[in-house]
Amino acid sequence: MKHSAVTVGLPRAMLYYRYRILWSVFFQELGIRTVISGPTDREILEQGSVLAIDEACLSLKIYLGHVRALVDKCDYILIPRVASLGRHRDMCTRFQALPDLVDNLFRNSGQRFLSYNVDLSAKRDEETAFLELGRALSAAPKEARRAYRTAKKAELAHHKARVQKQEQLCHQEGLKILIAAHSYLVEDPYVGRTVTDYLRSAGVIPLRADLVDRDAALKRGMELSPTCKWELSREILGGILQRRRDVDGIILLSAFPCGPDAMVNELITRRVKGVPMLNLVLDSQTGTAGVETRLESFIDIIRLKEGKL
């Protein structure tokens, strides 16, 4: 395999948490080096907040901070456009707008960006998009196809392994709380991770609504809402139905002001009954006291119910 001197930067935010295996294996297969921005910290959030408009959600602010951190550190930064994965399978408008948004914000930086466009509503599937991505990096079409298929296989295997890990946790003894959140929020080390860390330190097993079999979850999600058009939300809806009998409580974790969550979490609180639920909205506050009070009391209430406080 020939190694090119090109390096591609991957912002550690948003869809990175969903596609990191797909991306890293694809580039690795093509002999292209990748650089990943560091874990989110206060500086990244602050830099991103300066770049974003006020109405942007916390996750987008974090994303822009990661892009900023990669400028001048690599030849290209990968900013994909993932718009639609089929009927009733749209992505949040942020993911449709990212390449244009970033291009515009960093137009004077001299940084080059790389993109691919997945939009099933315009009959552009993921494989086609990755072939074009390969072409942009001067890879032979055959090579790019092989790299994509290897990467896709690795991604599916990785996800399957994570789902199996969740199944095991489901059968463990102890208090279990399901977190319904986007992967890029719950896995972000500066924001969402504080929630899972706290739960673990309190002796609770955190489970994830988004770590389930995706096809099955998409179908089951229809039971809660036949018209919900957001892919990631539908997965979470299905994940909740799949896991609710295994858990003692559900935390709806959302980044302020997430559009899809504002609607879908309302739907969840109205339609999922019989299980304690905590609605937690994270903003860029540095203090964690408010969040801890809510988590601590939520756990107490569940334990009190079981007479174990």
């Binding site: 504080t194 304690p276 909205v281 540095t286 009391s297 107490d300 209430i301 007479g307 406080l309």
Partner: protein
């Protein structure tokens, strides 16, 4: 010597303390304003409690701290139990009202609803990080209208035509209120409108989707406001119980929790004469720049918190 238990609840607006005996009888109780100085308030509180307390007959064997300053106060008091205020309120209320089904609570910056079945909390909700419709809103509106916050209830009950105030968001409520004042609505009608807005706001935000069953117990500082109580009774169509000690329920709950807990540590009132201070240190170990709070007794560092990782433990 008989055993007694101290419970202290330091909220954003008020500081509450109780001492109870084994049977949960009140031996001493006090309610004062926090005035932005939780350490000073606790010391003052202890002085007042000490005056009501028979030290020859009882000794305090366990201490609980709750409220938003529970960590700080727990450190200063050497508390054996530090618990969040929701749990403390649930425990306190179900001890005194075992048949309660719904607990409404509105404090200075938080509001919550706790649903109870068979004396056990089964569900609850809390305001999101926004403080809309809490005591802080009422006191700032009282100030705007030139009356004491304690007088709001009496004014509200005198009104026959409460003014409609937009209730969804405090910011909108406030601008609506200013507009209504300028339009010439009588003061008591506006105050009654504010009370209705607090109740309506609570029911549509915190109480949203919750089945509110009777008996309903209302507590927290705002429960002392007769106007809001009347507004809740109208909106819910049932009697709303306000315990004379409702404002002390968090302190009572945490005292009971301290009693039930396994730790024992005799409490010494001399802390009220000790010098405590806090200092904020910024950790420079990484770009998170965590704000670490260090608590000193005299010159001795007794506790610190606020760091996100273990690197912050070196910064004191």
């Amino acid at each position: 010597m008989e055993h007694a238990y101290l419970g202290v609840d330091v909220g954003s607006i008020s500081t509450k303390g109780v001492i109870i005996d084994r049977e949960n009888n009140l031996l001493a109780s006090q309610y004062i304003w926090t005035q932005g100085n939780p350490i000073g308030a606790v010391k003052e509180l202890l002085g007042l409690l000490e005056g009501q307390f028979d030290k020859t007959k009882y000794k305090i064997v366990a201490t609980g701290a709750t409220g938003s300053a529970r960590k700080l106060v727990g450190t200063i008091l050497g508390a054996t139990m530090v618990k969040n205020e929701i749990t403390a309120h649930a425990v306190g209320t179900t001890t005194f009202y075992p048949d309660v089904r719904t607990i409404l609570e509105i404090g200075g910056q938080d509001s919550k609803i706790i649903l109870v079945e068979n004396a056990v909390a089964v569900d609850y909700a809390m305001n999101t990080l926004c403080a809309a419709g809490t005591g802080a809103f009422l006191s700032s509106q009282a100030k705007r209208l030139g009356i004491e916050v304690e007088e709001i209830g009496d004014y509200a009950l005198r009104s026959t035509h409460p003014t409609q105030i937009a209730a969804r968001c405090t910011v909108f409520a406030e601008s609506d209120l200013v507009h209504k004042i300028q339009m010439g609505h009588p003061r008591e009608d506006i105050i009654a409108g504010v009370c209705n807005a607090v109740a309506a706001n609570y029911l549509s935000n915190v109480g949203k989707g919750k089945k509110i069953l009777s008996p309903v117990v209302f507590q927290g500082g705002v429960s002392k406001n007769k106007g809001v109580v009347a507004a809740f009774e109208r909106a819910l169509g049932c009697k709303v119980i306000v315990d004379p000690n409702g404002h002390l329920m968090g302190a009572l709950g945490v005292a009971i929790l301290a009693k039930k807990g396994s730790k024992r540590q005799e409490f010494d009132f001399s802390v009220e004469n000790m010098d405590f201070r806090t200092r904020e240190a910024s950790c420079g170990q990484c770009s998170n720049h965590c704000e670490i709070i260090c608590v000193y007794r005299g010159d001795e560092l007794i506790d610190a918190w606020g760091n996100r990782c273990e690197r912050g433990e070196r910064v004191h």
